[in-house]
């Protein structure tokens, strides 16, 4: 398998593994510009979540840098009455997982 295809397969597998966890409602991968590149949700939800969360991640990052310019975001967890959104930022992408925490 070419390197590209192998990486692609790994990503698919990881997504499937996360998706199969109890309570996971959706997974979105967003690139550094806030554009969703992969999602298990419908288009409308994907676009909405991506835009809102991109804004939130930018804000979290600037909050941390204002406190300490040497510091950076490693994880973000936003819990609400109905679900929990977990955001794992990476250099070029961020992974968003929406789950029902009580499941």
């Amino acid at each position: 398998m070419s390197f590209r295809r192998k990486k692609g397969a790994e990503v698919e597998e990881t997504l499937k593994r996360i998706q199969s966890q109890k309570g996971v409602q959706g997974i979105i991968i967003v690139n550094s510009e806030g554009i969703p590149v992969k999602s298990t949700l419908d288009n409308q939800s994907t676009v909405q979540y991506s835009a809102l969360i991109h804004q939130l991640v930018m804000k979290a990052r600037s909050t941390l840098r204002d406190i300490d310019p040497q510091n950076d975001l490693t994880f973000l967890r936003v819990r609400s009455k109905k679900n929990e959104i977990m955001i794992a930022p990476d250099k070029d992408y961020f992974l968003i997982v929406i789950q029902n925490p009580s499941a």
């Binding site: 939800s45 909405q48 979540y49 809102l52 969360i53 804004q55 939130l56 804000k59 979290a60 909050t63 941390l64 204002d66 406190i67 300490d68 040497q70 510091n71 950076d72 975001l73 490693t74 994880f75 973000l76 967890r77 936003v78 819990r79 609400s80 009455k81 109905k82 679900n83």
Partner: protein, 98 residues
């Protein structure tokens, strides 16, 4: 009632290992209790109030019936927990857990 609840939380949390500081911010954005120095407190209070507002509106934009209950911002050097309650904020800054 909320102030009592928060103050209790404050005392309990402060004893925990790894907690760097706790701040309670009132509905006007003013820190009313803190274990940190004044300038650090004001900085955290201002920044996190602003962040929490954004997080709350993001949650409500997706579902107006939903509401924010907790925020956890993890960074390389520390972890910031924010619990909003009745427009008050309880902020806990701690060492990032392993």
């Amino acid at each position: 009632m909320t102030i009592l609840y928060f103050s209790l939380y404050h005392f309990i949390i402060e004893g925990h290992k790894g907690v760097i500081g706790t701040i309670i911010v009132n509905s006007e954005g003013l820190p009313i209790r803190t274990t940190l120095d004044n300038s650090t407190t004001s900085l955290y209070a201002r920044l996190l109030r602003s962040f929490t507002t954004l997080a709350r509106s993001a949650v409500r934009d997706v579902d107006p019936q939903n509401d924010l209950t907790f925020v956890r911002i993890r960074s390389k050097k520390q972890e910031i927990l924010v619990a909003p309650e009745n427009n008050f904020l309880l902020i806990v800054i701690q060492n990032p857990s392993e």
